[in-house]
């Protein structure tokens, strides 16, 4: 099969996956399977007012996290990087939670989450870089340690906070879309943002060759790296403020898409954004249905998929790099 034809089919598949996942989210629920257009009255209201806004939120959060994952993997030149593993999501969640607990209600939560994610990013990179050379293990280790640090702070806040909201807070921290709802209008700025990012896609290809190589190929690499730091933190912060710390989407999705469309970011970014969105919509639908009437936080499900894959990738990376 020729390349053009193959990619044509892949794009059609991805473009169908998004409305397909939304249809699944609308049709499937704790009351079993129903076709949305055969319903009237209360069921239509459930679909329009509960399921769809939640599915749209999942779609947007999924594509934000997948894109953030792609960006961080370029920064680290490593397919294991992910906003959750490196503690960005934890930092964002801790800041957002602190804002809520200390009554900083005049500050928008996404801003707090962004600041938390950005600070964590800087912290991880400064600590992991140190004087020595970059090493995968060192960066991952630093990220994991920082993430558990944020975890401890979050536990402290929860332990001293009011009991009434404990369960919903816990769920939110695990990554939960139960209270998330976004109007479809959110798709407009998100799509525009992705469009702008796409203009940087070839620069990302160059940057994944390393700072020096990028400079020699005409990228003012320091400025570009700051751009990526900022954008990745912003995407993570937004995602966390909507749905808490959902893990491993930024790891699983870029990895799968790299297998399908290759490492060229002009293809990888849009593919990861589309598939990440559809993936999280499906995962959330399963999470709220499979043990109904109980609802699982979707973060549990993504972690169940993500952790084995992470271990597999780590194993491969160690084998390649020695």
């Amino acid at each position: 099969m020729s390349d053009t034809r193959r990619f044509g089919l892949i794009w059609i598949g991805l473009l169908v996956a998004v409305p397909g996942s939304l249809l699944l989210a609308a049709s499937w629920g704790s009351s079993g399977w129903i076709w949305p257009w055969t319903q009237d009255g209360s069921m239509s209201r459930i679909i329009a007012e509960l399921r769809m806004p939640r599915a749209i939120a999942a779609l947007i959060v999924g594509s934000l996290l997948a894109t953030a994952g792609c960006l961080m993997q370029v920064l680290l030149r490593n397919p294991l990087a992910d906003p959750y593993v490196l503690g960005l999501s934890g930092g964002a969640a801790a800041f957002a939670l602190a804002g809520m607990m200390f009554g900083l209600v005049w500050l928008p939560m996404p801003l707090l989450a962004f600041v938390g994610a950005f600070l964590t990013m800087i912290l991880v990179f400064v600590l992991a870089h140190g004087r020595g050379p970059w090493s995968t293990t060192r960066v991952l280790l630093t990220g994991v340690v920082i993430a558990s640090g944020w975890g401890a702070l979050i536990s402290l806040m929860l332990a001293t906070g009011p009991d009434a909201s404990l369960r919903s807070m816990l769920y939110w921290l695990m990554g939960d879309l139960s209270y998330a709802s976004l109007s479809p209008w959110w798709l407009v700025p998100v799509t525009l943002g992705h469009g702008l990012l796409w203009l940087r896609a070839r620069s990302l290809n160059v940057l994944s060759g390393g700072v020096l190589q990028a400079a020699l190929l005409g990228e003012s690499s320091r400025a570009r790296f700051w751009e990526i730091y900022l954008v990745a933190s912003l995407l993570t912060g937004l995602a966390v403020s909507v749905a808490g710390a959902i893990g491993f989407v930024g790891l699983v999705v870029p990895h799968l898409m790299r297998l399908v469309v290759g490492a060229d970011h002009r293809r990888l970014l849009p593919a990861a954004a589309l598939f990440g969105g559809a993936f999280l919509v499906v995962a959330d639908t399963i999470a709220r249905t499979v043990l109904s009437p109980r609802q699982l936080p979707v973060g549990v499900l993504t972690a169940l998929i993500g952790v084995p894959l992470f271990v597999l990738l780590l194993n491969r990376a160690v084998r390649i790099r020695g």
Partner: protein, 260 residues
Amino acid sequence: MSSALLSTRSLSVQIGTCRVVESLDLEVEAGQFWGILGPNGVGKTTLLKTLAGVHPPAGGSVRLGNQPLASLSRRAIARRLGMLMQNTQYAFDARCEQTALVGRHPHLKPWSRESRTDRALARQALSDVGLGELSERSCMDLSGGESRRLALATLLVQDPAVLLLDEPTNHLDPANQVGILDVLVGKVRDRQKAAVMALHEVNLATCYCSHALMLFGDGRWEAGPTQELLNEDNLSRLYRCPMRLVDDGRQRVFAVAASP
């Protein structure tokens, strides 16, 4: 005004406390192939990086054509000057052709894609370095020598007027060393480019370089045409071990002198 593609004005380069060169005045003109020689750890790589503008000079300046390097954007530099680094590691799977195409980056606008001409250029470069057969292979599955040649193909696709080469023959077997240097010399001569190459192997310099720059490790340097500069005395001083010229009538080779 000079006709030099790349020149330095009393350039001083340091790395840590090590003085690489002091007050270096170099004029690299079109058609010239320079070899940088010196013992291990003398700072050949650092000097090349300084010439590429990715290591700050301790004093003096580098000029690309008539403009100071420091006044140019990275993009403007990358269109006219490229460098082959000593090590290239690839982090993500990509086909060789795709990897070589990255060299077009400084010539393309953010939204434009590589044209048919660009692709032809990439295929040509791959076959120039002897990787024509492997253009569909992943860059992660290459041997040391092959990934070295892929990096060189990327540089050829970038197609700058000034080529800086850090040990281009590392990891290569003799046939490939000669093959690659032939390609580079051809580019320099036929397309009036200029090359500056750091080298371990003196005899490759005598075969391929029109000019040589010797770095002695304490900031002292000597530069000139290869024929005049490379002789037993100078090389023995440079490498701090006795070197001897062996001539069998067909070829002249420098070798470490056997102890008597």
